[in-house]
Amino acid sequence: MSIFESKKLGEMAVGTKIVVYGVLGIWTFIVLFPLYWVLITSFKLPIAVSGGPFYLPFVDFLPSLHAWSYIFFDLGNDTFRPYFNSVVVAVFSTLLVMITGSLAAYALSRFTFRPRLLTILIFILAVALVIVLVAALGVNWLIAVTVGVALAVIGAGMFRRTPSPTLGNPDILFWMISQRIFPPVVAAIPIYVMFQQVRLLDTHVALILTYTAVNLPIVVWLMYDFFVSIPKDLEESAELDGASRIRIFFEIILPLSKPGLVATSLLVLIFSWNEYLLALFLSTANAQTMPLLVAAQNATRGPQWWYMSVLIIIMIVPVILLALVLQRFIAKGLLVGAVKG
């Protein structure tokens, strides 16, 4: 009997077990080693980095707290302010994106939409008009937006009966996810101009709104699968009892989808927590977030590995703790969504 054959049904053979644990062990090492390196780098003096490679504190090199004291005491508020900003922006944008995103995902999973191409075209023309009015003619943006909305509504009403091809729910879903294709480098300038016009640059609001928009497609896409998998009978009986849609959503659907909500929230929370490029544009002094501080450690004198390592570590720790607490949900959360794919 070979070691790769199992003795009992549903149990692994010893040989298989060794292989499986071997592979998982190697991967654990691959995942953790770079982080270990970051951790010990944060305790190295510059000379221990450039004289390198040194692996073991106390054995290879004498650890020093110089980088930690620089980040926490010398920089002090210059570390805590971005940290606070990151927390505020990540938490609120996650809340906002989860609410708007799951509302949309729920609607897409329960109602059939048939948006007409013609209406969409009118809308795009209205947006273009607003841009021309503001950018080229210098009209106040409030007036321009009002004119745009009015024209769009009138236009849509006028061509109401004109025949036009329509789109379906899958098209809307794909349209939403396709919004992530556009490279942020180019989107950044227009978004900057937009917030400049409404005087929201360098505020939390600007970052929260931007991250909400950027992460919306992911939430809609993941939560859609989740809602589809929830049986409809519950809602139907509630509806017969006279409950409104919004009540059904908040009181029946959301509690049922807790794991999915948690898993998706964690994912978008991580994305907003770590975002760099848009934050760079939209914040100057007050709203700067942590990733900017990490990138800033590479200045004229080359990367300050020791400071950077400290910042990377203090950025991961809360997320790891959160992931540990929510661990149970993460597994279940993506599970139900995955059933239907």
């Binding site: 049904l9 149990e11 692994m12 644990y21 995942v31 729920y106 989107a187 991580i270 661990q327 599970l335």
Partner: protein, 375 residues
């Protein structure tokens, strides 16, 4: 029972709200996405056709038509975007042959499928056209003296990166879905790289890949490679970028695929095991079909993100050696930093065009069939 006017107004509002709840639910999300997508899209289309110039009154945009695109596709920046063209080598011919076979197979299966529609034909024409063009581009630039441009480099990153990430991510997920001890430990540990900020990962990998003072440099010297640096060779530099990218994104694949593996039909599995089917047989017959739709979806999402790769090449190599590891987004980013906003927007449109067609094709030819097969 009589209603006061106020109550009527309230009930009416609630009624109205309830009737239109579907639209109202979608509205905030749609408006947000529209505001943050259509507006930038139009502005940058305008930028792509202009030259940005600092004038006496702040800045001005001078309309230059297709100039930016012409320069990139045919002019002085062609080597940068598309590559340096050289006579086709044997590798090139191999790529051409493979492309012809693939496209032929695609056309054949479409014609014999019995669902030949106008939209389907147009879609396939565009998709196959782009595929053929890209294959020709690779074939014409990959030879000895040739040099692939940022477009081809990006596609290399996307396809190799996503493939590695999917295979390793799914493989690990499959192992973790087996009945073994310590699953929750692995689950959390494997998730960790995703939590590190991408800029941080890029710098971490620069430390790791340092062949003078990095942790693997002794091993490198021991192997007798001390005189060679990955950063000086085009393909090894690209490969290191892919490795860094994979380290970060394997967890994403892992998590979703783990969920998929854990949700495969338990009863079918047990029945098959009782029947004495081999592990491999079970995987092919039951496991794979049940996870295929999720796999297709997750690969699509990952592909969309992978086209925008920028942090890693920017920090690891700054696009070097030469321009070898420069991705399209990095190319656009560099032009943008040098204030050539027009070229930057034009490059982004090339990226948008290519990735949209590839992703839509993937959605239609892979994701949708996988989902339909499941239903």
């Amino acid at each position: 029972m009589e209603h006061t006017p106020l109550e009527t107004w309230q009930t009416r509002a609630v009624d109205w709200f309830d009737r239109h709840s579907g639209r109202l639910f979608v509205l905030p999300a749609s408006l947000l996405i529209l505001a943050f997508s259509i507006f930038p899209l139009i502005i940058s289309a305008w930028l792509a056709l202009s030259r940005f110039k600092l004038g006496s009154e702040g800045y001005e945009l001078i309309f230059v038509g297709w100039n930016n695109f012409r320069k990139l596709l045919f002019g002085s920046e062609q080597y940068h975007l598309l590559g340096t063209f050289m006579p086709t080598s044997w590798l090139g011919w191999l790529i051409v042959a493979a492309a012809i076979v693939l496209i032929g197979w695609g056309i054949r299966s479409f014609v014999t499928s019995g669902h030949v529609t106008v939209m389907g034909t147009i879609g396939r024409l565009i998709a196959f056209g782009l595929f053929a063009a890209l294959a020709w581009l690779f074939a014409a630039t990959i030879g000895d003296k040739g040099q692939i441009g940022s477009l081809s480099t990006t596609i290399f990153y996307v396809f190799l990166g996503v493939a590695i990430q999917f295979v390793i991510g799914a493989g690990l997920a499959f192992l973790c879905s087996l009945r073994i001890r310590g699953r929750s430990f692995f689950r959390v540990v494997f998730f960790v790289p995703l939590m590190v900020t991408p800029v941080g990962i890029a710098y971490t990998f620069r430390m790791m890949a340092d062949m003078t003072v990095g942790p693997i440099s002794p091993l490198w010297h021991w192997l007798g490679l001390g005189g060679f640096s990955w950063a000086t060779n085009a393909w090894s530099a690209r490969l290191v970028v892919v490795l860094g990218d994979s380290w970060q994104w394997i967890p994403f694949m892992f998590l979703v695929m783990l969920a998929a593996f854990e949700s495969q039909p338990k009863d079918e599995l047990e029945a098959a095991e009782l029947d004495g089917a081999s592990g491999f047989q079970i995987f092919v017959d039951i496991t794979w079909p049940s996870v295929a739709p999720v796999a297709a979806t997750i690969v699509l999402i990952r592909m969309i993100e992978a086209f925008k790769i920028v942090d890693l090449p920017n920090v690891l190599t700054n696009g070097g050696p030469g321009i070898a590891s420069e991705s399209l987004t990095l190319h656009a980013f560099m032009q943008w930093r040098a204030l050539d906003l027009g070229a930057s927007a034009a490059i982004s449109y090339v990226l948008l065009f290519t990735s949209t067609i590839i992703c839509v094709s993937f959605f239609n030819f892979v994701v949708n069939p996988a989902r339909r097969a499941r239903q």
